[in-house]
Amino acid sequence: MRRLIASIRVFISGAWLSYIALFHWTHPASYIASKIVMPIASMLFFLYLGTSATGHDTTQFYIVGNALQIVAISAIYGVTMTVGRERNMGTLIYLIGSPANRLVIFMGRAFFNILDGMLGVVMGFIVGTLLGLDLTAANLPGLALTILISSFSTCGLGLMLGSISLTALNIMFVNNTFFFLLLVFSGANLQLDKMPTWIQYVSKWLPLTRSIQSARLLVNGATLTEVSSLLTSELTIGLAYALAGFTFFRWFEFQARKRGTLEAF
Amino acid sequence: MNIIEVQDLKRIYHAKIGVLRRKVKEVLALDGINFSVSQGELFGLLGPNGAGKTTTIKILTTLLTPTAGRASVMGFDVVRDATKIRPRIGFIFGGERGLYWRLSGYDNLVYFANLYHISPDVQKKRIPELFELVGLGGRENEKVQGYSRGMKQRLHIARVLLHDPQVLFLDEPTMGLDPVGARELRQAIKNLQMEKKTILLTTHYMFEADAMCERIAVINHGKIVALDTPTGLKNYVQDLSIIEIDVFGIPHDAVERIQNLDGVDMVSVENRDQKQALRIHSSNGAGAVAPVVSTLQNMGLRVGNVIVREPTLEDAYVRLVGGEI
């Protein structure tokens, strides 16, 4: 029981402190530019681009897709920076040397980015209503759940990328590539069922795809039952990525201790 | 002729404090300093960290504007005639920065040579010569990121000599170098002086200033507290004896008690690893040793080596900057 409480304490304080210490966008200007202006501008861009091709009645399609896409900013950039910063500051080595539960620490790093991601999506939906999104028929609780799950799931991918980044790969390169991959393959701007097989195949392996599908259904009034299988799969994918990331993290730690490269952390 | 002239030079920095309600704090870095350097002189600016040495050099190298006062180099005003000064001077702020790490040493020099409008023909001849001169011959095609700290410092010297300037400003040139490297660098600087170059260097190593400079200005809290030859500066302390006592863990009030003893002019404490070196300026000569040692022993402090010696430039400096090191 005490171990459990200690773990919870580590989780919460670690998550909160890491948010403060390592959060990528601490300065208001940086937050406004990257988390507000950029996603809105990006949404506008794809909205205009998409409706120029498929007509005004597809406005909803693009707005929902791009609003949900906003979660990727926190999930990818936010999470990987949180993990990567630990290394840059030299604090990772102290974490590893501590008795704290590894999994708890690892997941805790993602926690506030999950919340932050959800905030971004909500903002996206609000802006979307100004651009023509009609939520009168929407299943709002279902939508809220979808937003939570999408944030969690995409952050799972972020955790995996973050732990890979510990191997000194050029992290910005990896971040940017995956962000744009999600943009293309998540179905935010493409009707996946009309796409070639290889695109559909790739999208199935990525988080966010099923969340976007669910959200589109829920905005039109679908029930939770109708989207439950999509959301369950989404959750599973997110967990799988997070666990893959954690496994990699442990393997990396093991290798570093064996080879004496822990200082390279 | 005076190559460098500084008159009533003042420089105030505005530092912003706080995050939400920003207050502006004024920091007086230079408080009206005056000095001049004649042609071919090796002049030293000595002082503790934050005294105003780097600020002075940045003003003289046209990188900073003064708040008040005037300064000129080779007769050109540092503010109005900055463009006339730049081709004639060279400066090093040294250290790890100031070079392009992803380029080779050779490419770095080519780059800076072009900034100083040196023609390719001259570059082809001079750059290899400079590499030999600073002892980096054979390493010019390696990337700078692989250079040791000493090598980087030497590359800076090569860089600053590219355009054969008449005046050199060297800010803490031997900082961070190992003793052998530092000695070689000092010799190189002396050689430059023999070529009739005017050199102004800043340092907080007293023995370095003593060994190299013809005249030294001691600067503290933005003011020049003394300006003289090394010998002249030592005269400040010529009537004093210096007593050095090793102690282990001396508390602050002990220092005050010793300060109040007869014959004790000044006490300073220097931390050296596990112990402290108590340095006492005494007008009583060796006669002050007994009272000091017994005071320390009465406080239950362990006393190590005791030395009585002649004052050095370092002692004069410590006296001039009021015991702060």
């Binding site: 530019a33 501008a41 681009l49 050029n170 | 940045k58």
Partner: protein, 261 residues
């Protein structure tokens, strides 16, 4: 004197290229991003009537050119400050603008190459036949585009160096230019009040010139107007840039920010 100035620009250009040639961020912004944008845009637009692949290729290359210009020049001067070389440059007889110009050009050459990477995507993946309607006019429009972005780059570089906080705003400018520049859709679709904004942006006219000479029908007089507007706006940008550099240098020397990280 002119010769030595040109030599500085060339040296900076050449040595800067050497430094960044293998940088991951560069490769991403110049190759991967435009590629993915092209892929996405092709799939989004290919069912429109009158779709021309060359339109998407040119448009996505423009996005790559702009992102490159924006991001690389945002740390053009800052990068020198971080490596401690800014003081060495300003204390030299060469003007800062000359050094910055060399790096702007190096960034542009790298960014222009992005056009040649999105090209194979369309050809190989989609088996599109890409034809440029007016190759000669297109080539000149490309040169004009470089001029447009070069002068804009000379404005961007000092702006993001004036205050340490400015660089945090850089992300906010990427997509708005894609929209207002009419890179991948006409600005007719946008609200009317944005039109004057587009008109004062040289990349907008560059995009028009490139599109109309690659996928549209055009007369020489139309294109000449666009080129003229590009030159006109570029001159204004250069004037603004020179003022910005003066302010930047004065402020830096007053506030001692040349050496700060």
């Amino acid at each position: 004197m002119m010769l030595s100035k040109l030599r500085v620009v060339w040296t900076v250009f050449y040595l800067y290229l050497k430094q960044i040639a293998i940088d991951g961020f560069i490769i991403f912004t110049v190759i991967i991003q435009p590629l993915l944008v092209a892929l996405l845009a092709i799939y989004m637009l290919r069912d429109i009537e009158g779709f021309q692949a060359i339109y998407v290729i040119v448009g996505s290359a423009l996005t790559g050119l702009w992102s490159g210009t924006l991001f690389f020049n945002s740390f053009n001067i800052q990068g020198e400050r971080w490596s401690g070389c800014l003081e060495n440059i300003i204390g030299s007889p060469t003007r800062l603008q000359t050094v910055v110009l060399g790096k702007v050009l190096a960034n542009l050459i790298i960014s222009v190459s992005s056009m040649f990477f999105s090209y194979p995507i369309a050809v190989l993946l989609f088996k599109f036949r890409l034809t440029i309607a007016h190759p000669f006019l297109f080539s000149i429009s490309l040169v004009m585009t470089i001029i447009a972005l070069m002068s804009l780059g000379l404005v961007i570089a000092p702006i993001f160096s004036l205050n340490p906080g400015n660089i945090m705003w850089v992300n906010a400018f990427e997509f708005p230019m894609y929209i207002l520049g009419g890179f991948l859709f006409p600005i007719l679709l946008l609200p009317g009040w944005t039109t004057p904004i587009s008109y004062i942006l040289s990349p907008y006219w560059a995009a028009r010139a490139l599109h109309i000479t690659s996928s549209g029908s055009t007369s020489l007089s139309d294109v000449l107007i666009y080129w003229g507007l590009i030159i006109f706006l570029s001159l204004i940008y250069l004037f603004v840039s020179s003022w910005l550099f003066r302010v930047l240098l004065w402020r830096a020397k007053e506030k001692a920010t040349l050496g700060l990280q």
